[in-house]
Structures are given as C-alpha cells and as structure tokens.
C-alpha cells in the first residue's frame, strides 16, 4: 500500500494525516527508530532505578491522584482562590476560553509593553495554542531558551516528545543548525561544545530582552504562587531578569496548597527524567519588590478542558502533570516517535488528550494508536488509566462514524457488525465457523498456513502468516470426547 507522506511533520491536529499514515516516515527510517529507542532506554532505566529505591512510590502515586482529583472536583473554587491570592500579591489574572483568546491576550500585553522581542521558557501550553507563529506573524521576535527548543526553533524542526522534544535530532544535525544560525564557523559536534554555543548565544538575550513568557507546572491556590520545574537554568533567567513575565497555564494546573508540592515534586522528576529532583525548581508569588519581574500576568486557559472535566471517565486526563513517563514506556511511541501523533502532545497522553482538546472533531485515529498494553497506566505518577480512556474514546469515535453513510460498507464496520450478530447466537457462531473453514481453504497453503489474504486481512498477512483453521473446533471435539467417555 502506498500513502502520500508529508515531507515535514504536521503537528496541527486539524490537518495532520491519520496516525497509521503519519507513522510511516519513522517506520521507514531505522536510524531514527534507533535514536528514539535509545533515548527511551536511557530515561526508562534511570526512572526504574529511582522508583525501585522509593519505598513509598505507590503511596505517592495514590496521593498524587487523590490530590489532582480533589482539585478537579473543586476546580471553580480553587481557581477563584488562586486568582484572589495572585492578584493580592500583585499579579494580573486573565481568563481565555480558547487558543485564539489566549494568543490575543498575550499580544495585547506585549503591545502595551511595546515589546519587540520575548524570551520563552519551554511550555507545552504555549505550544498547544501555537503562540510562536502567531507572535512572529505579528512582528514579535520570539526566542526559545530551552536547549532542545532552540534546536527546534533554529532548525525549523517539530517537537517529538514533551520533555526531550529534540530527541530525534542527532548531534551532527545540531552542529549544522547551530553553525548556520549562530554563524559559528568551526563548531564541533561534541554536546559539550554545542551546549556552550547555546549558552553564549542566549546570554545577551537574557540580559537585554525585557519580556518573558512561560508555562506553569503548578499554580498554588492558597498563596497565588506559580511553580516552574526545569533543568538548565534558562527558566530561572527568564523568571528573574526581565521586567515583565507572562505565564500561560491550563486551568487544571492548580494545587490546593503549597504543601501539595511535596507529592508532586517527588514524583515529577523521577517520572520525567529519572532524577531524584530536577536541577532547578522556581516558585514565585505575584511580584516581589526588588526581585524579578515587576509586572506579572497569568492567563488561565480553558481550550476544551472544561468539556473534558464534565465527563466521568475522561476527567482523569486532566490529572496529567506532563512528565512523559507514558510515552517513555510506550511500545508504540518507541517505534513511531512523536511526530506520528500530529499534535504537540504525543504518546499515550497525547492519544487521549489531543482528540478531547479537539472535542472529538479531529484526531479520531489517535485513540486507536495503542495496543492497550497498559504500560502507560503502570508508570503514570497520577494513575491515569489511559487504556480505559482510550477505549471510551474509541466508543465515541465508533458511535460517531457508524452513523455515517459512507462507513456502511467499510470493511471494518461491516465486519464488526457481522461478528456482533454471529456471536449473539451459538448456532450462528457455529455455522460461521463451518463457513469460515470452507472459505479459508482457498487461501490455505499445503503447509496448512495462510500466507496471503485479501482486503483487510492483507494488513495481517503482509508481515505475518496465519495458521489455517483446524478441521475440528473445540466444541465439536468436546461433544465427541464426552460421548466416548460415556
């Protein structure tokens, strides 16, 4: 089968190709698959070692899930409390119903600040609302400051992971990107040298650009505080040097109290990077005279989240703390990498989050991008039962599609409806078994195996044989067996 394959990965779910098609470029690139597998192996091994040493790991997971559920149940009250305390501490709180609304608010603030340039801390939420292209189109120079994000921005690459987004780019590609865009002639491909190049490139930006944009890992309702978790120190730079800070945060990011960080900080770094604690975590509250930005804005973004909140099984999606443990553990992600998911959120969490953020109008192939092996649920630090949500979303996609006229003769739908009927009565099932035995005889080779099937069956036989149907079913044997016994 041939598919049209886009040259450049598309991470906009409204136009991205379906997962099985979008996965092909990586499946056909053994080097890239190797890179992804290597990165996953490194993180997984580190995580496993640290989780092993943590005697109370399961208790931490349970507490993490309980705290997040409690927040979601009382989200309205906690958001209002956060707003009140943050405002009292000198922050300005904005509310955005959708991506366009949030982008507009950011631009209005930048215009009021007369900001021609902004520096950014890596943020999934600003990627979700596609903020950078919007600001660039409006004439604002956007500078990502996380090393991986710089690589992607300068190399015009798309992120393929939420914690290590440039894992698909190797050192020689990074060298090329940096040499070209930073104008360095003799740059080695040693990661140490490349990191130093990025440090020098950004140092002046940190000291001179007066406006910064961040996401938030956690919002603290009781104090109005905001926490950002990072490794490199670019976050600390953005949080202390500029005059103005704009934080874009999903409405689900709230925690009731400061103390709740004792659970989240213990599980987050272990799950994300396999460290006991990430090198730097910063928390700030509104503005503090003499220390850091003196103007602070928080934009609370809904963008589909309140809809997810209203659904029983799906609500747990909003517990997510964006650690990426699910994609690191996922055997599907391991083969396809992140671009196949057609969204800034790849992997198992992306497979449930993206279609829901799209209110099930796009990305309908994503709930099927899983073998339901459950590795994601097993590692999730806030116990999101991702397979359960995947199955729920599959039911929604099926309910949506099976009413469409053009799906009536779709082999999958036809087959599943037929199977449903045949399995509803034993005599029909048994008749179908006999028919199948006759029918499959045409396809069964002398060795008793089927090597090639037409239609949907070809999806199986293109890489696998299928043993031919035995001459006797079990229930036929049982009937005989019992007669003989008598």
């Amino acid at each position: 089968m041939t598919h049209a394959v886009a040259d450049h990965p598309v991470l906009d779910p409204t136009v991205a190709p379906p997962f099985p098609v979008a996965a092909l470029p990586v499946l056909r690139n053994p080097q890239l698959r190797k890179n992804v597998a290597h990165a996953m192996d490194v993180i997984q091994a580190k995580r496993a070692r640290l989780v092993e040493e943590k005697a109370d790991w399961q208790a931490l997971r349970s507490a993490g899930a309980a705290i997040r559920d409690h927040v979601l149940e009382n989200l309205g009250a906690y958001l209002e409390q956060f707003e009140e305390r943050c405002t009292a501490a000198g922050g300005v709180v904005h509310w955005a119903a959708d991506a366009a609304g949030a982008r507009r608010i950011v631009l209005e603030i930048l215009r009021a600040e007369k900001a021609a340039e902004v520096i950014k801390i890596k943020s999934m939420t600003t990627a979700e609302i596609q903020l950078n292209p919007y600001l660039e189109a409006a004439g604002v120079g956007v500078f990502e400051t996380d090393l991986a994000e710089i690589i992607l921005q300068l190399g015009r690459e798309e992120p393929s992971h939420i914690v290590v987004p440039a894992l698909h780019v190797n050192r020689s590609q990074v060298r090329e990107i940096f040499a070209r865009s930073m104008g360095i002639r003799d740059l080695s491909d040693n990661p140490q040298a490349l990191t130093a190049a990025a440090r020098n490139y950004l140092r002046r930006k940190f000291l001179t650009v007066p406006t910064a944009i961040s996401g938030a890992n956690f919002l603290i309702a009781e104090s109005g505080g905001v926490a950002v978790v990072e490794s490199e120190g670019n976050g600390r730079m953005c949080l202390t040097l500029p005059r103005t800070m704009i934080t874009v945060a999903g409405i689900e990011k709230v925690l009731p109290r400061y103390q709740d960080l004792e659970v989240m900080l213990q599980v987050l770094a272990r799950s994300a990077t396999g460290e006991r604690m990430n090198p730097y975590t910063s928390l700030w509250t509104g503005v503090t005279p003499g220390d850091g930005p003196q103007r602070f804005h928080v934009i609370l973004l809904d963008n589909g989240r309140s809809q997810i909140l209203g659904r029983k099984t799906e609500r747990q999606t909003l517990r997510c703390i964006r650690c990426a443990a699910c994609m690191n553990a996922c055997p599907v992600y391991r083969q396809t990498g992140g671009h196949a998911y057609g969204s800034v959120y790849p992997g198992p969490i992306g497979a449930i989050l993206t279609p829901q953020l799209m209110q099930m109008h796009h990305a309908q192939s994503l709930p099927y991008a899983s073998s339901l092996c459950g590795a994601c649920y097993e590692v999730c630090p806030v116990k999101i039962n991702i397979p359960e949500v995947l199955i729920e979303l599959r039911a929604q996609v099926t309910d949506q599609e099976r009413r469409q006229v053009r799906r009536f003769f779709d082999p999958m739908y036809l087959g599943m409806r037929m199977a449903g009927l045949l399995l509803s009565r034993a005599w029909l099932f048994h008749a179908a078994q006999r028919m199948g035995r006759l029918g499959l005889r045409f396809f069964t080779g002398k060795d008793g195996w089927i090597h090639s099937l037409p239609g949907m069956g070809a999806q199986w036989t293109q890489t696998r044989d299928l043993r031919g149907m035995p001459g006797e079913t079990f229930h036929e044997w049982w009937t005989k067996h019992k007669k003989e016994a008598r």
Binding site: L372, G374, F429, T463, R464, K482
Partner: protein
C-alpha cells in the same frame, strides 16, 4: 471440585488443541469439567474497538450463562481481563442493576488458568513432562491487569525436563492488540519485529504464553520468517506427560 470451561471464541475456532490440553490437565488433577455449548465470546474485540452495543450484548450473554456456575476457568488472560476490568463499566453504562449484581457475585469465581491452578487448586507441580527449551512471554493483560506475577514461572519450573530460558524485555508488548494489528498493521509489525528479536535471542524451541492471541501474532511471524521456533500455549506444556506428549510434538 467442579469447573465450567469458557474456552473463548478464538480458541474454539483456531486453537482447539489448547482446549483439549486444558481438559486433559484439569481432569488429571481431578477437576470435574463441564462445557456449556451455547458459549461464544466475552466481547473483548468489540469493546476494545469501540463497538459498545455489541460488547454489551456479549457481556450480558456471558453473565447470564455462567451465573450458576461453581467456577469458570478461562485459558486466555485478556478475556479474563475483559470480564474483570470492562464488564462493570459496561453494565453501569447500560444502567442494568441486576446484571451488575450478578456480575459482582460471579466475577470472584472466574479464573484464568494459572490462577485456577495455583490459587484455587493449590498446585504448582501438575505432573507435566516437557523436555524442551522454552521461553515464557508474559501477555500484557496477564502481567498488568491480572497481575499473574510469578504464577506462570512457578508452574513451569515444576515441569520435568524443561529448559526454561528467561525472555529479555519481558514486560514489552508484542504488538498484537486485537484490531490494532490490522488498523495499525505497520506499527504492530514493527513492534512484533522487536519482540521476535528478543524471543530469537533465547534460542528456545518454544515460546509459550497464557494467551493464544499473542502467540498467534508471534507464531505467524515465526512461520513467515522460518524462525525455527514455534509457539505453544502453556496449557499444552502443563498437560504434556511422558506417555501423552503435547500434540505439538507429534
């Protein structure tokens, strides 16, 4: 001890030798087996593909059929996982209180084969003889949903003559995933290729599991690639004796 055998639709159709082995094994251990010929399917394929209406009716059928059974034994871990993990939600959505109550009473008496042997019968040594090099593949449902843990290993360790080789990356999926294997055929095959490398590295003659669905997937690739190894359901190893070796050896 009496038990009712739910063979599952695909074992009935494609792997009757597994069913025969379960009968041989359990009768040898003194279990009085019955088989209800009206049985068809647990509904897993429909549920996992999103066809909830069809899954409802199969789940209802299962619960009604077995509510009076003393014990139900199922030689397929994913089907047991379906009953335990998904039936409650299906019945809740259906709003059927009677079915929910019937399921709650029944589900405690539904056992996967290795659970039945170890937890219910309390045996580890089932008197089997299988002088071959074998590696055990843990199906995802057995591993993460049923938490079979070391039960399969304990049973296999007591098989006389067996040469057990551990499978690297035991907790990694083989890529079957039901309709995933055709809806995402290429990705599924890529996962399978990785798994097959691990299986081949054991130099085992047989790869065994408690789920014929994974084995159908692995076995199909082994046959395609002339891998020189075969798959066999664990029931067939456990049923095998010196006087009556497994059918696969004939």
């Amino acid at each position: 001890m009496r038990a009712s055998l739910f063979i599952t639709c695909y074992n009935d159709t494609l792997f009757p030798e597994t069913g025969r082995a379960v009968v041989t094994l359990l009768e040898r251990l003194g279990v009085g087996l019955e088989f209800r010929p009206q049985q068809t399917c647990c509904g897993q394929m429909h549920a996992n593909t999103g066809f909830r209406t069809e899954a409802f009716s199969q789940a209802r059928r299962f619960v009604r059929m077995y509510q009076d059974a003393e014990t139900v034994v199922i030689p397929s871990s994913s089907c047991v996982a379906m009953i335990r993990d998904q039936y409650p939600g299906l019945f809740e959505e259906l709003g059927d209180e009677t079915l929910r109550r019937q399921l709650a009473a029944l589900v405690l008496r539904v056992h996967e084969l290795s659970e039945f042997l170890i937890d219910v019968l309390g045996v580890e040594d089932v008197g089997a003889y299988f002088p071959h090099r074998v590696t055990y593949h843990a199906s995802c449902h057995g591993l993460r949903s049923l938490h079979l843990a070391d039960r399969p290993a304990r049973l296999l360790a007591k098989v006389r003559g067996i040469d057990l080789v551990p499978l690297p990356n035991l907790d990694r999926c083989c890529g079957f995933g039901g309709t995933f294997s055709v809806k995402n055929g290429e990705v599924s095959s890529a996962m399978l290729a990785v798994k097959l490398q691990d299986v081949a590295s054991t130099c085992a003659e047989f790869c065994t599991a408690l789920d014929n669905s994974c084995l159908m997937h692995l076995g199909g690739a082994m046959h395609r690639q002339y891998a020189g190894m075969r798959t066999i359901h664990m029931a067939e190893i456990l049923a095998s004796t010196e006087s009556a070796p497994a059918e696969a050896l004939k």
